[in-house]
C-alpha cells in the first residue's frame, strides 16, 4: 500500500491487475527484508500525514521562505524523533522522507562521521555528545572557491603558534574562501575545516580542525569569521533549501586540541608526529560515503522512473482508430526502449549498492585487523561506481596494474578475478546465435567480461608504447575512462546476475528480476555495441531483445519501490493515476493566479494596448 489515503479511483487498476508477480514480495526484494519494508512504510506515513512536512508549495516559496521552512521542518523532525524515541534506523528514514535538503544532512552525514573517523577517543568523548544532542550544529568545510576535487590543492592555512598553544586558521587568498559546504551559510555553529597544517615553518599538507563559527548565544559569526550563503542553485526548490555557504577566516585562533588527531598530532612544542593508526583508515570513510551515493542514485532513479512509468500508462497519444481512444504512451516501443532500461537500472543499482554495503563492512573489519589487501580494490570500485571522472583514474590504474601482473602469474581476485581467464577471454567467440540466447546469464556475463578485458588489454598496450607511464595515461585518458566504465558495468551486471541466482520468494518475483537483469545488460550491450563489436567478442548478427516481458509488469514494478505520493511529490506520478484533475487544481495555486488582471497591467500593458506608451530617448 503506497497510497496516502484511501483511493476512491485507481486509473491504473487495470495495469496492476495485469502484473504477473507478487508485488508485496517484490517490495521485500527491493527493500532488502520484510522489516525494512515495514519500518520504511511506517516512517513514510508518519511524514506524509504531518501537515508540517507538506512540500507541495515548495516551488512557490521565495528563497528566504524556503530556508525558513527548512529550519522549521528540521526542528519539527527532531521533536518527533525525541518524542517517539525513534531508533537511529527510524530517524534516518524519517529524515529521508521529509525530503528537503538541509543542515541536518551534513551534521549527521559528514560532521559526525568526520569526528568519529579522524578524532581521538578523547575528542570523540568531548564533541560527539554535543552533536548527538544538537547542542552544536556542525558542517564539513572542505572545498574552496578555487579548489574542489583536488584536496591537496586547498589553500586555507592552520599555523601552529607555540606561544599560545593555538592554531591560527586563515584564508590567505580569495580563492581560498571555503565555498559550497552545505549548512555553512546560515545554520551551523561549528565546522570541520580542512586546512594546510603549518608548524615549525613547514607545510604538512591537509588536516581537519574543529572550528566554532558562530556564537552559541546569539548565532552571530565569531570575530574574524566571514559567513554567507553562496546564492540560488539551478532548479525549482530542491537544493535551494540548503544554505551552501562561503567562509573566510582572518587569523582565527583555536586551541591545539581541536586539530583532529587520530592519525597525526602536533605536540605542545609544535612537533608534527604520526600516530601508529594506519592512514588507510581515511579511505574507509570515503568508501562509506561513496556507497551511500550509489544507494542515493538508485533511490533518485527509482522515483524518476516511477513517475515516468505511471504517467506513460495514463497519457494517451496518437494511434486512435476511427475516433476510438488513443494509445497509451507506454505501449510505444520507442518509449519502452527509453524507460525500461532505466527501470532495470534502478534495480541494478539497488543490488550493486547492497553489495557495496557488504564490501564496506568487510573492508572495515579487515582494516581493524590491519589487513589492507582488499582496500585498494574497494577504493577503486566505489570511486568508479560513484562515477566521478577525476577519480575514475583510480579504477583505470588498478586495471592497468592487474593486467601488467598477469604475465608474472599473479592471480587476480575480487572483481578482477575474470582477468585470470585472459587466454580464454581474449579469443573466445560469443556463442549467441539467436535473440533468445541473450537471455542466458552465462552468455551475458562472458560477453561483458570479454569486452572489459579486451579494452583493458588494448589500453595497457597503448599506454606501454608511450615515453613514460604518466604520458601514456594522459594521452590515453579517454580510452582509459571507457575501459574503466566497461569494468564497472561488468560489476553491475555480475551483481545483478548473482542476486537473481539467489532464492527469492514470491510469485513471479524472481522471473521479473531475471528479466530486468536481461533488459539492463542488453541495454548496455546495445548502447555500447561498438565496444562489443570492436573487441570482436560478438558479431553484428547478435542483437536486439524485446522489452515485451516488462510491459505488463511495468506499473507494478514501480509500485514495488513503495514510494508514497508525498515522497514522490509529483502530480504526474500519483499512485491513483488521477493526473489531469490534480494538474488542473495545482495550476491555480500559483501566486500569479492570485489576481485575474496581473500586476503590471496598468503600468505596462494598458499603455501599450492604448498606444499611450510615453516615448522618451531614455527612461
Amino acid at each position: 500500500m503506497a497510497m496516502d489515503a484511501a483511493a476512491e479511483v485507481d486509473h491504473l487498476a487495470a495495469e496492476r491487475a495485469a502484473a504477473r508477480f507478487d508485488v508485496e514480495e517484490m517490495k521485500v526484494a527491493w527493500a532488502g527484508s520484510r522489516h525494512a519494508v515495514d519500518v520504511a512504510d511506517r516512517m513514510a506515513r508518519l511524514v506524509a500525514s504531518d501537515p508540517v512536512f507538506r512540500k507541495d508549495n515548495r516551488t512557490m516559496l521565495s528563497r528566504k521562505d524556503l530556508f525558513k521552512d527548512t529550519l522549521r521542518k528540521a526542528a519539527h523532525a527532531w521533536r518527533r524523533i525525541v518524542e517517539l524515541r525513534l531508533t537511529e534506523e527510524e530517524a534516518n528514514l524519517l529524515r529521508l522522507y521529509v525530503d528537503q535538503p538541509g543542515y541536518v544532512d551534513l551534521h549527521w552525514g559528514m560532521f559526525v562521521p568526520a569526528i568519529k573517523g579522524q578524532g581521538t577517543e578523547e575528542q570523540q568523548q568531548k564533541w560527539l555528545p554535543l552533536a548527538y544532542k544538537f547542542q552544536i550544529i556542525g558542517c564539513y568545510a572542505q572545498t574552496e572557491l578555487g579548489h574542489g576535487s583536488n584536496v591537496q590543492g586547498l589553500e586555507t592555512t592552520a599555523t601552529f603558534d607555540p606561544k599560545t598553544d593555538e592554531f591560527v586558521i586563515h584564508s590567505p587568498t580569495l580563492t581560498s574562501s571555503k565555498w559550497w559546504p552545505g549548512g555553512l551559510g546560515k545554520a551551523s555553529t561549528h565546522a570541520v575545516v580542512y586546512a594546510r597544517l603549518i608548524t615549525e615553518g613547514k607545510d604538512y599538507g591537509i588536516h581537519g580542525f574543529i572550528v566554532q563559527l558562530r556564537s552559541l548565544v546569539d548565532h552571530s559569526p565569531l570575530p574574524g569569521v566571514t559567513l554567507g550563503d553562496i546564492g540560488g542553485k539551478f532548479g525549482s526548490g530542491a537544493y535551494n533549501s540548503m544554505d551552501n555557504g562561503v567562509l573566510q577566516f582572518d587569523h582565527v585562533r583555536i586551541p591545539r586540541d581541536q586539530m583532529l588527531m587520530r592519525l597525526s598530532q602536533v605536540t605542545r612544542e609544535g612537533k608534527y608526529v604520526h600516530s601508529d593508526v594506519p592512514k588507510q583508515l581515511l579511505y574507509g570513510t570515503m568508501v562509506f560515503v561513496r556507497q551511500s551515493i550509489v544507494a542515493d542514485a538508485s533511490k533518485a532513479l527509482s522515483r524518476a522512473v516511477c513517475i515516468a512509468v505511471r504517467y506513460s500508462a495514463i497519457r494517451k497519444q496518437f494511434g486512435s482508430q476511427d475516433g476510438g481512444p488513443e494509445t497509451q504512451v507506454l505501449n510505444y516501443k520507442t518509449q519502452q526502449s527509453r524507460l525500461f532500461p532505466l527501470l532495470a537500472s534502478a534495480y541494478a543499482f539497488r543490488f550493486v549498492g547492497d553489495w557495496l554495503n557488504w564490501l564496506y563492512t568487510d573492508v572495515t573489519q579487515k582494516l581493524e585487523a590491519k589487513d589492507f589487501s582488499t582496500l585498494q580494490e574497494a577504493h577503486a570500485c566505489t570511486a568508479g561506481l560513484k562515477a566521478v571522472t577525476t577519480s575514475v583514474t583510480a579504477v583505470a590504474r588498478i586495471l592497468m596494474k592487474t593486467v601488467s601482473q598477469l604475465a608474472s602469474g599473479k592471480q587476480p581476485v575480487g572483481t578482477m578475478a575474470y582477468m585470470g581467464k585472459v587466454q580464454y577471454l581474449m579469443q573466445c567467440k560469443c556463442a549467441v546465435n539467436t535473440a533468445e540466447d541473450w537471455l542466458n546469464p552465462v552468455a551475458i556475463q562472458e560477453a561483458f567480461e570479454a569486452r572489459a578485458l579486451r579494452m583493458v588489454v588494448n589500453c595497457a598496450q597503448n599506454v606501454s608504447q608511450a615515453s613514460s607511464q604518466e604520458e601514456g595515461f594522459y594521452e590515453r585518458s579517454p580510452d582509459l575512462l571507457e575501459a574503466a566504465v566497461a569494468h564497472i558495468q561488468l560489476i553491475i551486471v555480475t551483481k545483478f546476475i548473482e542476486k537473481v541466482q539467489q532464492d527469492i520468494p514470491g510469485d513471479g518475483v524472481k522471473e521479473q528480476l531475471q528479466n530486468l537483469c536481461n533488459v539492463y545488460a542488453l541495454y548496455i550491450l546495445h548502447k555500447h555495441l561498438g565496444d562489443f563489436l570492436a573487441t570482436g567478442c560478438i558479431t553484428p548478427k547478435q542483437g536486439a531483445l524485446a522489452n515485451e516481458q516488462v510491459r505488463p509488469n511495468a506499473v507494478a514494478l514501480v509500485d514495488a519501490f513503495n514510494h508514497t505520493d508525498h515522497y514522490l511529490g509529483s502530480v504526474l506520478g500519483r499512485y491513483d493515476g488521477n493526473v489531469y484533475p490534480a494538474l488542473y487544481e495545482e495550476a491555480w495555486k500559483d501566486p500569479l493566479n492570485e489576481t485575474v488582471v496581473p500586476e503590471g497591467y496598468h503600468e505596462y500593458l494598458r499603455p501599450l494596448l492604448k498606444q499611450q506608451l510615453k516615448l522618451s530617448s531614455r527612461l
Copy 2:
C-alpha cells in the same frame, strides 16, 4: 569585440593570442555576413547598456515580480523599437538579446504568422494592422491538457449556429482545457484557437478561429472565458517569465468571419466548402517553425559551449608538479572529448540551419507555383532535424518509401540522392587505414552514407516481413528511429562539408571550420561506432582522432559567436575570465544574505540548540 565595457583584465588573453585564425572573419562565417555581424552587435550593445534590460537579478525574483519585470521589459523594448524606428531585422534581434521569454514571442512568432498563413486577404487586412501596432496582443491556443502533438485529437469544439451566424466555442471536458500556450495566462487579449469545426451536425476536424479573450477596456476575461497561468516551470528564472496558460470556454460566441478561412470556409447557410488553395500550404508554416527551432538550438548550444570553454580555460585542477600551478581543465583529454564535439556541433547546426532556411524559401516559392515535389522531403527533414520523436516517423516513412522505389529504377533526389548509389554503398569497404585518413571528407561522407543506407535497407527488410506495413512500423519503431537519426546526421555532416568547400575568407578560418567538421563527424562516428561496425562499412581498426587541432583555438572559436556578457548571463562564461571575484560578489546578492542571522533562528534554531524544543504530541 564582445565585451560589455572596456576590460581592464583579460585572464584569457594568452588563449586568444594562441589562436591560429582570424576571429573577426570567423564571426562573419558564423553570422552569415558582415552586415549580420554589425547589426547584431549594435542591437546586443543597445540592450546590454540599458538598465531596464538588466537580468542578473532574474533568479532572485518571485514569480510575480519576474512576470511584472517581463511586462516592463516588453513595453520598454517596444518603446525603443518605435523611437529608434528599428527595422524588422533589428527589432527581432533586439528582442533576442532582451533574452526573457514573454508574450511578445508568441504574438510575433505564432499569432501573426497563423493569421498570415491561414487568414484570407480580408482577414489579414482587418487583424494584422491591429497586431502590428499592439492594439491587440495575440497568442496561439492549440495544445490541451489531454492532447499535445496529436492535433487531430483535440476536443475543443466550434459549432456553427446558423440562427445567429456565429460559432459557439466550447470546452466539453476537463482534458479539453487549452494548456501550455505562452502569453495566454495573463497577457493576451486574443488567441488563434484550434477547435473541431462542427456544422450541420458533422465534425470537420481541426480549424483555427480568432477569439477575443479579455476586455480591451479593463483586461478582465470575457464572459464564458476562464483564464489562468499553469504555474511554475522547472529551472531558475528562464521560462518562468512566460505566462503559459490554461483556458476554458463555456459556450463563447464569435462571428462566423473569425474562422480562419484561407483553406476552407463555412457559408452563411452553414455549408462547409474548401477553397482552391492547396492545403499543403499548412506544411510550409511548419517547415518555417521547425527551421527556427534548429536555429534556436544552435544559438542555445553556442551559449552553453561558450560558457563551458571559457570557464574550462580559467578553472585549474590537479596536475600540479612540485607545488606549481594546477592544470587548466581544458587541457584534460577527457574534458576535450566532451566539449569539443559540442563546440563542433554548434557550428554544424548553424550551417545546417542556414541550409534549412534556404530550403524553406525554395519550398515556399515552389508552393506558390503549385509545385509540391520537394514539400514531403522538406517536411520530413525539418521534422527530423527538430528531432521530435513523434514526428521522426515522417522521416522513417519517406526513407522506407524511397528504398522501396529503388527497385523500380526511380532515382532519389535531394537529401535522399545517395540512395541511388545503393549497389556501391551496400558492399563498399571503407578505405581508411590510418587515423589521418579520417580527415578526408570523401571518406567521412561515404562512411555516413553507407551506414545510413544499410540501416535503412535493414529496416525495410524487417518491416516487409511483418504481417502488415503498420504492424512492421510498430514493431520496428526503435530501429526506424535509429535509421532516421542516421539519415539526419548524414545531412548535418554533408551540409557542413559543403560549407567548408566554399570560399571562406580570413586567415585560418576555413582550416578551423574543416577541423570542426572533422571533430563533429568523428564524434558521431565514435558515439555510434556500433552502427558503423555492424553495417560492416568500417572495421574496428579505423578509429579515434585527436582533438589537438581544436585546443589552441577553443576560446577564440567561442569568441566568434560574438555573445555579450549580458546575453550569456553567466559569471563563469565572462569574456574577461575574471570568474572568482565576480562569483564571490554575486553570492552576497542573494536575499538570504540580507541578514547575518537568518529568519527562523529564534523560532527553530535557538530552541533546538538550547534543548528547549517544546515537545507535544502534535504541533
